[in-house]
């Protein structure tokens, strides 16, 4: 098997950290924090937008690969049902090339892209020792933030309304997307418990010492930095009323998924407690 944990010219091993979470779940703020802590996130990052004024911290190369794989499968990022991607050799080659390049240039590197939730198994195959930080947020906040962002894009007429309009043409689209992405995260966390750490957006916002906890767990070589003002207040606004749902059959599954995510988050909190006691 192709192994990405290869020695750098001077004989040192490289580490990789992937930040994964559904759209509007605080992954950009988390990536910004890790970037400050010394994590290399890409040569060319996506620029800031009104919906993400502090920047997305997404590597254009990685986002492009994910877009290509989705397009090869006749899909966009609006994935709302379980999805097993078919990946052709050209995409594998591009992923390998990116891995090789990053490994040859950086001792510690990573990337963040919400779409990676759908492709974690592929990256884990290429990067068997990669660690994955799962960032999750309650479905109500995520879906409301997503709707806010796409309504603003729709009304400002900056780009074609076709994609944005789907959120108001297909009932529960954002909810089903939340479910699909987060179920993929949970499946990955169950398969690789030692290589994952789950945190909620609220935990980070409320001052969870993320970098410190990650360092204690994985010893990646990150520098501890204060969380500070990394959160865009507009992005962390919660839904003012209860979550609307058209298809009531979704409710049970969404509640179960949320409970499972919270359980993972609680494990992280417990781990932090134990590490603090152990000194």
């Amino acid at each position: 098997m192709y192994s990405a944990r290869r020695a750098m010219p001077e004989g040192r091993l490289t580490n990789q950290l992937i930040v994964a979470g559904f759209h509007r779940s605080g992954t950009s703020a988390t990536a910004q924090l890790l970037h400050r802590a010394g994590l290399f996130l890409g040569d060319e990052l996506l620029e800031a937008l009104p919906s993400n004024p502090y920047g997305h911290f997404e590597d254009k190369d990685v986002v492009d690969i994910h877009h290509q794989i989705l397009a090869d499968n006749d899909m966009t990022w609006l994935v709302d049902e379980p999805f097993v991607p078919m990946v052709d050799e050209r995409r594998w080659q591009r992923m390998r090339w990116l891995v090789e390049r990053r490994n040859s240039e950086h001792l510690l590197w990573g990337f963040k892209d919400p779409r990676v939730c759908l492709f974690l198994a592929l990256w884990k195959y290429l990067l068997p020792n990669a660690k994955v930080l799962l960032v999750y947020r309650h479905f109500s906040g995520s879906t409301y933030s997503l709707a806010r962002r796409h309504s603003a894009l729709l009304f400002s007429g900056t780009i074609s309304g076709f994609l944005h309009r789907r959120f108001w043409e297909e009932p529960d689209l954002a909810l089903r997307m939340w479910l699909t992405y987060n179920k993929a995260l949970l499946a990955f966390a169950r398969a690789y418990p030692d290589d994952t750490l789950a945190v909620s957006m609220n935990m980070i916002r409320d001052g969870f010492p993320l970098v410190w906890a990650m360092e204690r767990r994985w010893n990646l070589g990150l520098e501890d930095v204060p969380v500070g003002e990394i959160f865009n207040p507009a992005a962390s606004i919660e839904r003012p009323r209860r979550q609307p749902v058209s298809d009531r059959r979704l409710i049970g599954e969404i509640e179960r998924t949320w409970r499972d995510l919270e359980e993972l988050g609680a494990r992280t909190e417990l781990m932090l407690k134990e590490m603090t006691i152990a000194g």
């Binding site: 009304f155 009932p171 058209s246 979704l250």
Partner: protein
């Protein structure tokens, strides 16, 4: 959810989505009202654009007034006055130009109007012109 079950949105679903989108539209429009709208691709607000267009109209009116006055033939002897006349009374108004070009043109008109008003105010005629309400209004607005 079983794959073989179809799901068609009913009227309630459609109404809910429409309501949600309308609520977002109201929020978006309120947000836009709260801050001056911008000209696409520029940092200039529409309020500023309206102000510049008014300055251009005022400059045209002022030039026509001056040319129609007994001083007109005397003013035409000045090269800079002839340039202003040519530029703002006889040249096309850049209707088909891009918003950036149009903005540059309007900003130049504003500068020219200010220069002209300053000159008019400082000459011996200044004290006479200031007796006129229209001139005082222009001075107040642009100087």
């Amino acid at each position: 959810m079983p794959d073989n079950e179809f799901y068609a949105p009913d009227d309630t679903d459609l109404l809910r989505m429409e309501n949600e989108l309308l609520a977002f539209e109201v929020r978006f429009l309120k947000g836009r009202l709260g801050q001056p709208a911008k000209i696409p691709g520029s940092s200039t607000s529409l309020n500023r654009l309206a102000y510049l267009e008014e300055a251009e109209r005022d400059l045209g009116l002022l030039l026509r007034r001056l040319l129609g006055s007994p001083l007109g033939p005397l003013l035409r002897r000045s090269k800079s006055f002839r340039t202003l006349e040519q530029k703002y009374l006889h040249s096309p108004r850049l209707q088909g130009s891009s918003s950036r070009e149009r903005l540059a043109y309007l900003e130049e008109a504003e500068r020219d109007l200010i220069l002209l008003l300053r000159r008019m105010s400082s000459k011996p005629f200044g004290s006479v012109l200031r007796r006129r309400k229209a001139f005082r209004t222009l001075q107040q607005r642009y100087l």
